[in-house]
Subunit: 461 residues, 2 copies
């Protein structure tokens, strides 16, 4: 009898597994692939590794302006993909090590929940094993949504997952969906020489981000050579040996578009396929994600869930947090926290990162606010790095200057956002930011100027 | 009659000048060169620009491992130096713009204080002008210290300033002084192909930084091919047409060393040369820096001072802070703050950054402390970027987990430190850091793990 059976070895599952092991619990983690989940194996990690190669390409291409001479760089796509797998393998070995170190039993196989304390596993060698546990944590994550009647073949039609195993880079790609996955793939494909058309149904790409930030990213993407279409749907998708054809429908217009390949990045659904035996069921929400209470417990006692499988925000670091909090719920250690404050990070170039509410949300909720802003074009560090694109924008209440949201587009945004996440976590104000001496020259000091500008006391703008 | 005469247009002077202008004061800034001071013209900015070129060289040189193919990069030293001057010019124009926008009068010339309300200026065209002001702010900064009987010729013997105007890169360089200036120059010279010997009199390079951090940087510098000698002095320095020769004395040993050139980076002295007329004097401290009271007022009423000229910490961002605080003192707007908390940033590779106390200081002061640490080798972001060197180390008190110091060596350290400066400014604990969700994959999350490790609850180590 295990103390805990965890189904899924991604950021929610592995975090809970390691912590349970650290606490001396008898814990088993069942994973159909290998520990690490989508994030490590088919998501954040390989994608950011390819993005890094794209950034290296961009650096080499402009190295002459920095006084470094070399010939025109060439893209070795096979080596880029091979490196992304090597990085994944390295980190996956680290995960194996942590499981062993913390005495987490790891089983490779597909789990099915039969009852609230019984899980059967069909292992890689087709044998079956039955596990008994005092509690079950479902951390099976998500799967890319696809479109009806469209076969994802990994040759002409991809989701993010197949794209990470692509053997060659398509010469041209239509990307359906301008969320973070679509945007990251758009960046690196375009940077490496693929002709990219990015299609988003909603009024702007990165629909969850501040509209002004998204507009800045859109302009940058266009300057980089991409076609970005918003308020646009795709219809009549046809795949043939010669490529992909579809009709773009938007703003009362319709146009045909063809490309060598199609990336479907239209969202993520809960991964609950074949997860429940015929005598087991639990409550799902309207979008098909697993509903949990304030202890991360599902509608079935002793069966808990965390991570992407319980719905948005669908982010690895949120899943890790939820996994650890769910473990508190499972072990009855105080009241677990639900995620209310988290950074969002998009690893295109320029990067996008945010925490808290954006201007649209504040308006929608009728909250009065002030705006502080500082353009990276006025940042010494940005001029030094030749990265003047972007800005930092801080939103505060009108009374105390408490930070309600911070939004960054530009180089290094995904690291810079940490300061604002901490500030919001501790309910600090822009005056706290501004009173802190920031290093010079850094991007971080641009944030301090943005904070000062809320009070009209920026120095450099 | 001016409200304020500012002598020196560096980070202390320009900050006070712009803020005084914003407040509607009649303010003049006298600067013998052009606004921006050492930092912008002959310090941080051009140095970091050259460091950026060195990093571009390193990226190009290893681009193949990222799947980007090009031939061996060549260093175009003239173009690297030219870019550093272009960046300086761009930012200096920005400073001119800010002066005009904020109605700061700018005079190019050498100022001499005759009385507490009178300054004479010998202008570039050798005419003289007399200025009358209600207050004077001395912000003349510092100058590199040199050695007795050693002529700095800018050909074989350099200080950091002449090196920034070098026409060609020496094939070999002895650097005397392992402080931040010596270390930054050592990094970029070595990276660009110069044979570097870095000589420090004290037990470790970066003597103001945590010893463990300095040891990690030393190992990295050695791996990069530099010779690093500590506890070592130079004697019998001889300069001839064929190069520089000197004796290294340390640990009871003596050895001769020769190189094409010598960089003297042994510290900074106050820039007060010819600053005071024959009927004017004020109190200096034991090191020759100008002594000021809690209002940044010197021993002479209505004469204030800020920035490097009042002594350590000798950092541009500290000078800016002091300039703004001194202005408060001048205008009688509340009690100015003295600098007690500031980030230190060293722009070599790997970078070094810190805030608060290091282990040696805590031991010296008899403060009990806990240590949290996380190696970047266990950071997914570091593996992705192939930058596994370094670590983050957090020091806290033993009761509350209040952060007493944070010390980082590794890629991106100078930006990462901002989160810890804010945390210390707001007197937050490691639990506040750990409770904040950090983006994945980022270097910032390594800090959260270091924070957790203080409590023994890191997940990934």
């Amino acid at each position: 009898m295990y103390d805990l059976i965890i189904i899924g070895g991604g950021p929610a599952g592995y975090a809970a597994a390691i912590r349970a092991g650290q606490k001396g619990k008898k814990v088993v983690c069942v994973e159909q692939e290998r520990p690490g989940g989508t994030c490590l194996n088919w998501g954040c990690i390989p994608t950011k590794t390819i993005v890094t190669s794209a950034e290296v390409f961009a650096t080499v291409a402009k190295s002459k302006s920095f006084g470094i001479l070399c010939d025109e760089p060439q893209v070795d796509f096979a080596q880029i993909m091979a490196r992304s797998r090597r990085v994944v393998d390295t980190l996956a070995r680290g995960m194996d090590f942590l499981f062993k170190k913390n005495k987490v039993e790891s089983i490779e196989g597909r789990a099915r929940i039969e009852t609230a304390d019984t899980v059967t596993v069909i292992k890689a060698d087709n044998t079956m094993q039955t596990l008994q546990g005092k509690a079950i944590l479902i951390a099976t994550g998500g799967l890319p949504k696809t479109l009806p009647n469209l076969v994802v073949d990994g040759k002409q039609v991809f989701t993010s997952r197949e794209l990470l195993a692509a053997k060659k880079m398509p010469a041209s790609m239509i990307i359906l969906g301008g969320g973070s996955i679509g945007v990251e793939c758009a960046y690196y494909l375009n940077a490496l020489g693929c002709k990219v058309t990015l299609v988003e149904m909603l009024p702007h790409i990165l629909p969850l981000e501040d509209a002004e930030i998204a507009a800045a990213l859109t302009r940058s993407f266009q300057r980089q050579g991409m076609t970005v279409l918003t308020n646009t749907k795709a219809e009549n998708i046809a795949v043939s040996e010669s490529g992909v054809s579809l009709d773009l429908v938007g703003d009362n217009k319709k146009a045909n578009l063809q490309a060598e390949a199609l990336l479907v990045a239209v969202g993520v659904r809960a991964n609950t396929e074949n997860l429940f035996g015929e005598n087991f069921s639990l409550k799902l929400d309207a979008q098909g994600f697993i509903a949990v209470d304030e202890h991360y417990q599902t509608s079935v006692k002793n069966v808990f869930a965390a991570g992407d499988v319980i719905g948005a925000p669908l982010l690895a670091h949120v899943a890790t947090f939820e996994g650890l909090q769910a473990l508190k719920g499972i072990l009855g250690e105080g009241t677990p926290k639900r995620v209310d404050l988290f950074p969002s990070c998009v690893y295109c170039h320029p990067q996008v990162a945010s925490v808290g509410k954006n201007e649209e949300a504040l308006k929608r909720e009728g909250i009065e606010y002030r705006v502080g802003k500082f353009p990276f074009s006025a940042s010494a560090k940005a001029v030094i790095l030749a990265e003047p694109e972007g800005f930092i924008k801080i939103l505060t209440d009108t009374t105390y200057g408490e930070i309600l949201g911070a939004h960054i587009v530009g180089s290094g945004a995904t690291e810079l956002i940490a300061e604002y996440a901490l500030a919001m976590q501790a309910e600090l104000t822009v005056d706290d930011i501004h009173a802190t001496i920031h290093g010079h020259p850094t991007f971080a000091e641009a944030g301090a100027e943005a904070a000062a500008s809320v009070r009209g006391s920026a120095l450099l703008i």
